[in-house]
Symmetry: C3
Subunit: 678 residues, 3 copies
């Protein structure tokens, strides 16, 4: 059993940067006292500490780190130790400029910023291996070491000669021959046939940008190259500490918390021992309700949990606000508690913060932290963090549990990239991720657990599988979906599905025959609407709005559930269901509002008895999420609204947070949360 | 008689890229079968086929092209053969980087994209000459060859050393001395006096950009350089096939279908044997009505027809949608027929498509095409194309006819460039093209034919000549306009007219005396309004809104037709007319809505009896356009609305599309069209 | 006494460019005649005339300048002679490319534009010194010479190797050691510790951009480097003409007329003999009322006057419109007179124009000028200029007077830069300048004179000192403010005050103790609101809206004047006052609309009897500004509205503009203005 496996506590703590405060001994002393007050049990050290660890080439200074390691250990805490590759010392950039990136206009970057090193540079890899080796040797067997935190928020790409050469090599391995590459990239289009490997460059705003197969391969290469760098970082660590788990902190995009765009985390997940990620919901924003945002938080946590089908870590979050949104509003009282427990409810085994203490200078000095510039425990944020620390201890029984879902959704990075690149439909934004969130919303409202998986996952565990907008779909995926339905699965698909193969080449001869067979329809056209255009769906006696996209199709064996209401295709099928083997395949031809999806999935949930077994009368503003351990189920009941709410459940229970008995009618204060055990 | 002159059919077909499908023999076989079904009689070959024709330097492969040439011939079809210069093979960019452009930040482009070669590069010219020569020798006397399609959609510019040197040479030829150049460029301003030719660069965002004479000369040079490249491309073809006409496909800008900005097509038109162009109206968009857009389509087709005063070709259009608009909506049933016949109605002798078949990969795979990925004749788009093919045969009698207009409008590229560059007025967008479209709209609504010509055309053929916003006006043009009015012409001019000469230097001493003489007024100020500012015109007992610009002026001999209603110039003249010789010159001082123009031109049309002789009761949503051949007139009657419409005409007639007799009252279905012969 | 000190007239005239018209002798002759008509007494010569003065390296041509110097002198006029460094001759850029700037992407600029030379280039400094020396020798003792106009509108920065080296040197002088620099820049953050001076570059979009201390130091360096260049330019002039004053024309930013962003004019002011600046209000725009804009004009003129606590010059203004706004509307009749006298009312001793005559070509040919292309005195603009010329003579008695203010406001460039850079709060725009204008507005409405000063000024002269959003506040400033209040001053501060020190490092240990002591409160949080969020202040029985920012704080000794109305801090203090020594310190915790500020300052003005002694019944659209000379006070009474207005005053008086007696009730026509002496 590793230290991590032996840890009974939920992790509480976060990024700690004593390297910034070496000239402030009183601050360093205060940190430890405050950590105890805040019930901190885990700190992440060494992120961006390279210049402190190796102030000049080959001269290492570990004394400061030794000290804090020992102190954390002395207070019974864990250390998550980072490799420092996320930012280089200035001496390294100066002596070896090759470690700096070249951007997509072929400009060589100058030193600065962070997360901007070349993933190919042999010297950078060598220097990272050396420092990682030193860290492993010095701290690998320290009793406080819990886990390795590899670099920080990997992202971006580089267009230097090394990276170009690696890309070409990657392509040679993939395609073998130029004939195969030209076939996949549809070479003759615009005379883009490649006749020598050396003619290939990465896509560039001042070079090639319209060869979609190349664009897609570049994004895949960037993921592979990043993973390769990660593996190179990990190698010296694993050599010394084969049993210490490694992770790297993942991210999400925009205030909608969409899956991170630039790296295929589906692939990356296979290379980390456990997933950790940095979650920053913009609570109390003025573009959506608290429940709207909470559902998005639920979606992405369920997704990142599903990638490895196991609990994950929140590696970074903020106890108050961030500093990089357009408007950096702080959390209202109670929201930090609610939000922290929501992470647990969706499968997190931690609530770690960026950052323990606000820095004094530079760009992140106003990013939320446990300890503010006042260096005090006597303020709202610190006290709510300490309160969360106490609650995490109270719900310790939940540790070791996991979520179980009967509903699966498919999200695919390849698909998102290809769809985003596609010239056609609505060119600017196809809204793939947002569409998935819209489908997910029904299940969140109804407290039904959902997994969000990639196409290579096992679908057989799901009673219902939802695969919207799978524009890029391999024949293998088609076959898997067919087998899934045939065996009794319920599959839901939508407009813009099954258009291209893994090379972003369209299927020829009409909508793929396999899909025709599964869905009992044949798609003939996709009508793209202008923003103010509207069509309607007539479904089960009611009318629903259709926007953005309307698929036109013919049914063969499918039954029509809804028809279009206007335009030249009025009266033709809009939503269908097809009995296929022991299962059913549904096709939703148009993008709709939430109202239609609620009606549609309401019927399915009823038919499949997917209703939450514990919740008798739910509430769209109250989310109930379960974690299970053996026979025991823990119910997280969370009020994501600014008013008191009530739900009724099937049984009386105990609230682990308070130890109080709770009846079948559960009243929740604004932002109220309970963790119930029946 | 050339093959083109002998062709009795309207051309139907379009861009065909068998080079993309050499690995798909079944597709190639199906193409020919489908072409027959679609009544295709003409294909454009070889656009972007350089890498297929010359896969490595000096090795040519024509077998695939021979085959398709013979097949097209065998089915009685024509080939429009393109020179392949629109995109380079990768080997060419790799071996000779000089063929790639340098942008206006002096960044050297990398290989990729298309339409981005240097027009000066000696090597590129040499390589193009060689391949063109080969094509001429091999296909110049093939019986299927109808026409040469030179390159594709010429556009852009290059800032490499060759181009800079050519620019300097062009300036030396134009100005002779630096004194003359400095006088024209107003050299001393900001110390910009040039003292050596070598000091001159092209305008650049990181160099010189504020010398307006230089900016104007650069745009003129770019046109001349592009034409020079075109001539160099054409030379080897003309040597072998002096009788085969050459054209190159022109373009329009934005969804408003404004005249293409970057090249002076007025000049370019003199170098092509016939004009062809690529027309992509965004039908059914949500920013304008169908009639609004149809009028814009009419405007630009009339303009491109007028440039050579002869029928032109639609070289590219889409049977469904495009892939490069923000929202790529497809045509509603009937719109393709209506839109195709509208092209003919304005003087097109073809309806050719981009593209025959959707490509399978890369950026244009969702661009509309006759044949979709389903490879089938059994879909809405193919069937409507086939229907258009039939209709084109039914109206074959129209071939050989042309349009005759008594109303002329002036559009001038030099003027547009100078006006666009002008610092002053509304800086961002002076709306020159949109203003012309607004004037044109009245005549379109009233079914009155209009020519849109450049200032070097003969005006004497027009009863009415409309010249809005001729900010840049040479003394030669003033003299021409004066002579035109003196001889009895009716001239309409507007605000922002006669400000600068051919060097973008202002006229001194007040509004040019010649214009004062013609219009009987003297312009003293131009009031530029903020977007929400409004003034009013009091005209013929009614009040009309004035926006954007109000000229302030004094009348000398002119009669005042309208006065301003508010602000410090309330009561002063806003619209005037001056009797000058046998004609009249009108000046409209303010930008107005369509309502005023309708009232104003309504009176003129009445006075000049410009009313359509055939239309008795017209309809703003129904456009009637005539083509004339000897004594015969063909009336295209087109309903650009989503509802049924009626007009009444002077005589009974026969509809060529159906062969049916049509009475004086003509009822049109939504998007309905008839081609009538009385 | 210098010629400038002896000048009894307000300066009237402006930028004159005979160098552009050397080929137009009739124009040059007409200029002099028109100047007399327009009552011009001063022209600025030689701006951008380098290529005319030194057409090739080392060959100087002064004849044309001699002539105009003599002619101006002959008509009794003054010459303000410019050094020509604002734009280089082409030969200079060509021979010495180092004089051109390198931008922040490290792109070397090409020749062109203006105001874009490197401030470090030794060769540029040498060439400027030579031409300046020549000008000093030739014209330094010419009787027409009034003043030196150094270069033109200094701005921008350069990233060349010289500038980088100068920046490093500047840092070495400032910090002495890298340890000190790293401490100030918070070096360890993101491993940004500097270990060799040579590792430092200027901030760059493709290098370092997130080290806030570095960003702030770069902006300070740019100011110092610009001043150093200015001093280098001035040196040869002062050597020859120690008694001729030097100035350089300052600017403002955007249509809101915010203090110029890029240069610290507070520092620069100490190096000029008198301040001159270029003021271009966008009168009659559609985003604000005339009074709104007039108040902004008042603010910035008061600020630039306050920097040296003496009258200043309007070096450029337009008699009509400009050419670089989005919409270049011209002044309505009367507005030029009103606007010109407003400049005087706030302390200007001139009304000079850019430009005397519109150029014939290039980008400024439509910029407003006294003489239009019509070359005539017979137009609206010329005539209103001539009228202003007459009025300036009529108010000549005002010359020698200055403004006296009992209210001070603090604007600090360092603070604006640090606040703008701050990641946090509302990231995009903290609205520092606009907030100051909002506070100023009350006093403008109530005709109470205000100084706008930097923190290094003497505060003791003010009864009331307003210091909003002083985010960056040194301990020295805190001490000064404390002493000011202790001695009986009234201080008003707001949200986002006292966050960081001079290095942009946050204060630790809570809100600075000195501020706690002064204000009797302790700020604990700043709540940042989304744009649609609202809170309310309950103050003196009324409710006022709070937007953008709400400070949360605890009172110690302060009295609460207003409380928040909603959200989790409802009922807590929002506005407080603290008795401190003999004075009082007010803290306004939230951003409010004008309504609250009017109520708040209304009370203070009443308590402090700051009311205007002459105005009995004021009018928000009528501004009354006083200038004092000995015992005499001149009242400028100005109606900034489109309708007639009335005010009543304490005494009868005489209007210097008309010589008429004016009673206590003063009626003003739209845009009407009077200059009253009781």
């Amino acid at each position: 059993m590793t230290k991590y496996e032996l840890e009974k506590r939920f992790l509480h703590g976060g990024d700690y940067n004593p390297d910034q405060w070496q000239d402030y001994p009183d601050i360093l002393a205060k940190d430890l006292a405050l950590m105890k007050l805040a019930k901190v049990n885990t700190v992440s050290l060494g992120i961006f500490a390279w210049s402190a660890l190796e102030p000049e080439e080959g001269r290492f200074e570990f004394a400061w780190l030794d000290k804090i390691f020992d102190e954390i250990h002395a207070m019974g805490g864990n250390v998550i130790l980072a490799t420092p590759s996320g930012a280089r010392p200035a001496w390294l950039s100066q002596k070896y400029p090759e470690v700096l990136r070249t951007n997509d206009r072929f400009e060589k970057m100058h030193h600065g910023g962070r997360h901007n090193h070349c993933f190919s540079s042999p010297i950078y890899r060598e220097k990272v291996a050396i420092i990682n080796q030193k860290l492993a040797e010095r701290y690998g067997h320290h009793p406080a070491l819990l886990m390795w935190h590899i670099s920080n928020e990997y992202s971006g790409d580089c267009h230097c000669a090394y990276c170009q050469e690696n890309f070409r090599h990657w392509l040679q391995v993939k395609y073998g021959t130029l004939a195969a590459l030209n076939a996949a990239w549809w070479g003759p289009f615009w005379s883009h046939t490649i006749t020598d490997w050396s003619q290939i460059d990465a896509p560039s705003a001042i070079g090639e940008s319209m060869v979609h197969g190349q664009n897609l391969d570049w994004k895949r290469f960037v993921t592979d190259q990043t993973i390769d760098f990660f593996e190179a970082e990990t190698k010296p660590l694993k050599a010394v500490t084969p049993d210490v788990p490694v992770t790297t902190n993942f991210m999400a995009d925009t205030v909608d918390l969409l899956p991170f765009y630039s790296l295929d985390y589906g692939k990356f997940a296979k290379h980390v021992d456990l997933i950790s990620w940095d979650c920053y919901p913009a609570w109390h924003n003025d573009a959506m309700s608290t429940a709207d945002l909470a559902s998005k938080v639920g979606f992405i946590n369920d997704q990142y949990r599903s990638l490895k089908q196991q609990p994950f870590l929140i590696m970074e979050s903020t106890p108050s606000g961030v500093n990089w949104h357009d408007y950096n509003k702080t959390k209202r009282p109670g929201m930090h508690t609610l939000s922290s427990l929501q992470f647990l409810a969706h499968g997190s085994d931690s609530n770690l913060y960026f950052q323990w203490r606000k820095s004094r200078g530079s760009s992140e000095k106003f990013h939320g932290a446990v300890v503010d510039h006042d260096n005090s425990a006597d303020n709202r944020v610190f006290q709510e963090v300490a309160h969360v620390g106490e609650l995490l201890e109270k719900v310790q029984a939940v540790k070791g549990s996991d979520k179980v879902a009967r509903v699966g959704m498919i999200y695919d990075w390849d698909n998102n990239w290809a769809l985003d690149d596609a010239q056609g439909f609505q060119t600017q934004d196809k809204k793939y991720g947002l569409s998935l969130q819209n489908h997910y919303r029904y299940f969140w409202n109804k407290d039904i657990a959902v997994d969000v998986v990639t196409p290579d996952h096992d679908f057989s565990k799901y009673d219902l599988l939802i695969a919207p907008m799978l524009y890029l779909m391999t024949e293998e995926t088609m076959a898997k979906l067919g087998a899934y339905v045939k065996a009794g699965g319920q599959l839901v698909s939508t407009y813009i599905t099954g258009c291209v193969d893994e090379n972003d080449l369209t299927y020829l001869g009409g909508w793929p025959e396999k899909l025709q067979e599964i869905f009992g329809i044949s798609v003939t056209e996709t009508d793209t609407l202008y923003p103010t255009d509207r069509n309607g769906l007539s479904y089960a006696g009611a009318s629903y709005e259709a926007v953005d996209y309307c698929s036109l199709f013919k049914t063969t064996s499918a039954e029509t559930l809804a028809v279009y209401e206007t335009d030249f295709y009025a009266g033709t099928p809009a939503v269908t269901v097809n009995a296929y083997g022991a299962g059913k395949a549904y096709y939703i031809g148009a993008r709709t509002g939430y109202d239609f999806l609620a009606a549609f999935y309401g019927q399915m949930v009823h038919d499949l008895t997917l209703d939450h077994p514990f919740v008798e009368t739910g509430n769209d503003a109250v989310s109930v999420q379960s974690r299970e351990k053996g026979d025991q189920t823990f119910y997280f009941v969370m009020n994501f609204s600014e008013t008191a709410q009530t739900i009724t459940v099937a049984a009386e229970s105990t609230d682990l947070l308070t130890g109080e008995k709770v009846g079948k009618t559960i009243a929740l204060a604004p932002y109220g949360v309970k963790v119930l055990v029946p």
